[in-house]
Amino acid sequence: MTEAFVGASLLPLAIVVPLVWAVLALVRPRRRPTFLVLPGLVSWVTICAGLWWYTSRLGVLTHVLGAWPEPLGIALRADGLGSTMALLTSVIGSACALYRLWTPIDADASEAQRWFWPLFFMLGAALNAVWLAADLFNMYVGLELLGLSAVGLVAISGRANALAAALRYLFAALLGSLAYLLGVALLYAAYGSLALSSLAALAAPDTITYVALALITAGLCLKTALFPLHAWLPPAHGVSLTPVSALLSALVVKASFVMLLRIMVGVGVTIISPSLAQGLGALGAGAIVWGGWQALRHAELKMLVAHSTVAQLGYLFVGMALLLSGSAPELAWDGLMLQLVAHALAKSAMFLASGTLIAAVGSSRVTDLSGVSRHMPLALFAFGLSGVSLMGLPPSGGFSAKWLLLQSALASGQWHWAVALIGGGALTAGYVFRVLSASFKQGTGDKFDRTPLGWDLVSLLLAAGAIVVGVVATGPLAVLRIGAPVAGVTP
């Protein structure tokens, strides 16, 4: 019973335990689910925290299910990125779950909503399956499971606009996964393996590999909502229940991005030409501009935040371009990792705070927020703090991420990305302060509804996390470098 064995056996548990709770929630639906959900959350967070702890101490952990060797068996692998994302998922997931538990029961009770908890835990299991997958096909299964549970969660309110958004999301997800699967089929035909580790050694610059990578990239970009394939995202994230929006924006879109990242730096790095990488980055820059612009002009608060996600995902692709074609990939890796983490924390906080503000005002329009600063200081403060991180102003995770990416861009002489990074910050400031400015306006009346204090606390904690992670970034970044497939990156 060595430490390594204990650590590795946490890997399957990280997927199985949420699944068990999904099944429990399915077979024993309750009107008051607190006593069912809380133990689930505690066990989930504990396992992921343990996984993170062991990874940070022992390095990359692997586990082969049922001792069936690859390629027929299923292998799980926890590197720094995987276990950090798993921990982040459990923390943000728990925050969203608490937000949901504090929601008054009669507020939006419909028959369909008893599906919330099964789908919620399934989403958690699926995310962990993606973070910890060691081969392309397990990633596919995780991604499909993720897509199905996410679509289910979007549709759960049963309103017509939610159903339309869910259907649009479903089609995008299905199309994206098929393109990905096709790419995987080609890679398997060419190399006879699906494990990332062996593909990295085998991949050669031939036509079939290029076609496969093109299909995989297109499919995953569609799922990550990279501009201009982003049209499905704002409605899906904007109309869902608030905790669902937070989960989708903070984590679900990251799953396909992390897959793309693993494939690009693992398999593609030697065969992708710099101009292709720059092209992806250009789309990212387009996302920053377009998403920011849309967020500036949208009348509804949650749609504003959803468009902000489109823009923030653009930073990830700019980071990927720097990683694949710059001369300082280690800085780009750090920046990219920090952006993943900081955006997840900040965006979930922002969605939860927005939901609170909307519930208090009774309207989803930005202009109706006037006077809310006086009555909802905590929610607004959480919104502001998360905005600081999204804008990339110090001190925050967003700033530290931008700083590292900026350093990487300048070191590579790629000035255009520096301009995109800084210009994107200005656009973000525009839409964040649009909300804050509206809330500072003198109100016309005191027609605010009371909201649970727990809502404020949850969003404040997440926002504070987004700030703090930027000030003490060195520690988490050291873990995130464990097992990173980038030259020059050592923990």
Partner: protein, 497 residues
Amino acid sequence: MTQVALPAWVLASSLLPAVIIFLLPETTRALRTSLNLGAAVLKVALVALMTWRVAQGSLTQVRFEMVPGADFLLRADPMACLFAGLSAILWLFTTIYAIGYLEGAPNRSRFFGFFSLCVASTMGVALAGNLITFLLFYELLTLSTYPLVVHRGSAKALAAGRVYLTYTIGGGAALLLGVALLHGLVGDIEFREMGSLRDMSETSWPMLRIAFGLLIAGLGVKAALVPLHGWLPQAMVAPAPVSALLHAVAVVKAGAFGIVRVVYDVYGIDFARDLQLLLPLTVIASITILWGSLRALWQDDLKRRLAFSTVSQVSYIALGISLFGPIGTVGGLVHLLHQGIMKVTLFYCAGNFAETLGVHRISDLDGAGRRMPLTSIAFSIGAFGMIGVPPLAGFVSKWYLGLGALDAGMPWVVGVLVLSSLLNAAYFLPILHRLWFRPQVAPWPEERTFGRWETSGWLLLPPVVTAVFTVGAGLLASFAFSPLQWAILIARREYLP
């Protein structure tokens, strides 16, 4: 142990109160007031202790790695003590003033929370030991002042807030790019006396010049260098204590202090001269001085006239530090303190006229000297100081600036100083004339009475004390720990032997 952590304690003495105040309910007035005052007094004590230690030659610092390759570094050096001392003392009086000013106003928890946060950021700016830590607190200062500028929530306040943000976020972007550029060239840049870039090879000089331009552009926004000054007159819609904060304690000072740090402790004054960066700065500062004074002449709104006066006066600092030679340096540094003390007095008084009599316009001030003698005396002292009448604080600054200009071989700068002093007289003396020598013609727009004194004691004490400081800083300039002596101490350490 306490010695090492002293800069951290200075920062915490306003950061922690900020957090607590945010959480206090609106109605807990007594607790909030005592917390505010207690923290302010404690901070003055801590800064005094820190200054004492620094004077004895011990440098204390707090450091940890924030992002790989970039440290968070707080350090107490003489320059830091100069600015921290100014802010700590003025914060105490501004807190007293704000408590009186906001008596009975809504949203006080929010106001005082951000107020404390603002001072915490200013302390951070003062104590930052490297460029990235400076940047961190500089931006935090922008964020924490925005809610104060828009505090009233009126359409005008929101518009002013928008202008403020547009300028400061733009400036912040330039600053970030400049800092990132330097960081990419030489790694983590600590502030060090006489600078740390002198050994850079000549091939990197063009890049260093670009970085300098970006840094000065970013800092110039807060320091209100023409043409980046547009936000400052707009921001006068904010409540008077906030104006004091913007003009004297925190914001423009952070910009000016940043310029000092960049010229002396990043580039080094000798190296900056070799790069031919000083003359452009002198020219910009001179233009700003004259332009601000000229614009001030035409303003009828008292706070607006004072705002343009700030534009002009703060550039004396940039002027002094851009003159090569220790005498000019002393002039610039000492003016950092003197301008703060004098301008804060003027803004307190303007606030008193507005709060007590409802007077906002200069043309309505006729005869106010008789109704509010103490406030008017304080205002007059501040105004004479600004003009540079001996033996007040402003005279000391201008004297050293003039000598410094001659020393640096730039006699035309003396012309700028003389012209600007004439303009100062031209826009301040008419106000004094109205206060003292014209009879009251119309009833005060909104008069309030406060019992024994001409106005509330909370509002009266701060301007009276800072007016006394204005006299004292001039009269007692040769005593140890006077602003002048401290500036001389710093100037001695900044030039190559």
